[in-house]
Subunit: 277 residues, 2 copies
Amino acid sequence: MHEMNVNWDDLRLFAAVARGHGLAKASKATGKSAPTLSRRMLDLERATGRELFRRLPKGYELTADGEALFEKVTTLEAGLSTIWNPPARGKRTLVKISAGTWMSKYLCEKMDAIVGSDDSILVRLIAAEEVLDISRRQAIIGIRNHRPHQRGLAGRRVGRVRFAFYATDKDVNPWARYTGNTPSAEWLGKHADEREIIEVTHPRNMLDLALAGSARALLPTIVGDRQSGLMRVSETIDELDSDQWLVVHDDDRFSPAIRRTVDRVFDVLRDLHRNQS
Amino acid sequence: MHEMNVNWDDLRLFAAVARGHGLAKASKATGKSAPTLSRRMLDLERATGRELFRRLPKGYELTADGEALFEKVTTLEAGLSTIWNPPARGKRTLVKISAGTWMSKYLCEKMDAIVGSDDSILVRLIAAEEVLDISRRQAIIGIRNHRPHQRGLAGRRVGRVRFAFYATDKDVNPWARYTGNTPSAEWLGKHADEREIIEVTHPRNMLDLALAGSARALLPTIVGDRQSGLMRVSETIDELDSDQWLVVHDDDRFSPAIRRTVDRVFDVLRDLHRNQS
DNA sequence: GACGTTCATTTCATGCATGAAATGAAACCT
DNA sequence: AGGTTTCATTTCATGCATGAAATGAACGTC
């Protein structure tokens, strides 16, 4: 798919057509005429190179490709509906910390050490696999897997992150497969072959499956080695090795509250790596 | 925000303008002329009723509203990039199970009872707070908080879900606040007042904070009462009471593999409610 | 201060996307 | 079989969105 060529508004109309099982209902819902919708759906199919609908006498029926797209688009719609719900702010300095699933979990465990009795900050922990843009202030503090290159950003290297499989026992064979966009998820997709797998859409559910003894989970060693109940059941996977960096915006280093928080976050992350050779 | 009036393609262009800090770079990136982008951004501001940019001599700078929108749009972008990565399917019947965070966690714990030695199915566990559309095949099996009304769907009531606060101790006072769209998240937003809070963008991180003794978490009682290390520290909140239903599409009941899986999922959910009065 | 560069906004000509109207297909009813 | 209804697609006229060109503003250099 060539994302640059896709008119996103065609996606909005696509959802309406899919939902209405044809052009007639979608025309009412969107205020666009049936001919326009017909053409826009053809445009979208052309741009994506996929057949999204079967045209039937009584209306439109989604193809498998169409269904896959519909799933994503409705997720996008749901995301859009939360745009204008900014949480209450109060007088504290909002410190947005962005980290992936595993670091978010760890930071929650150490939140007392980060916040403690500091009532000048309000922590918002943004757990996401996608990298948030610190220069655009999506996050104040970011935990990244590589050195920051962007001007205006400052980084402190925390340590190295390795991945291995973990399970309750060596004999557990199914793989818990996270179907996201991370390097480890892609590695899983490439190496799963005909292996028995259970798919999950959130990384945490891999750990849930591993702890339940149902599957092996591919985890960072700094996570898996600390998890009681699990053992390493593979060598580390070299191609997944990466660094861990704490990244902040240069401008934010002048705020005492943020500087304090950065130092505390760095300390708790260093502790995590200290117990790894 | 009037979602029906917003041209989604303006959102795509908005992200390019924000990323390029102005029209010039965005023009190169999108292939649209600077005048067009200028007008489209004005259109978007009109449609949303928000000022998204400050126009400066050297370019565009995001306002706070603009930043909030940018955060969401880049998330949408990331979601779009995964559209055409369908996971490998093999020969098994793909059984997509959709559940919220807490039920997903529980289902992972009981995955052996659901999958067992059944090698005719491939389970994909879709953990999402948004309700997926079974009639459009986003999910095969859904766990919902109300009876299904849509034609073609069949529901089995599992039990009742109540919410209460949980913590390691009665004296833990900060609230872990999930900033999503669920009824319980909205309740938290309405009642937080000037209370000390730590914000998280994923429900699981509320539990992480509670277990770490850093905050109180608002959890379903079927989750909190089973969690070692936590105790109830409030009465149940009546306005958050809801039902739990297992929902499937009528057509899918003819598939033996799916029927088996439905029965197993129902059984493990019943077990969960059996230990609640 | 004059000039050049880079940016955004406005004006103007025109191609393109749109909807009204016409057409075609399928299903249903009598 | 003929007529009606409901759907999608095609044709045609035209309004609107677009980009080229012009204009304005700010900044930097000499």
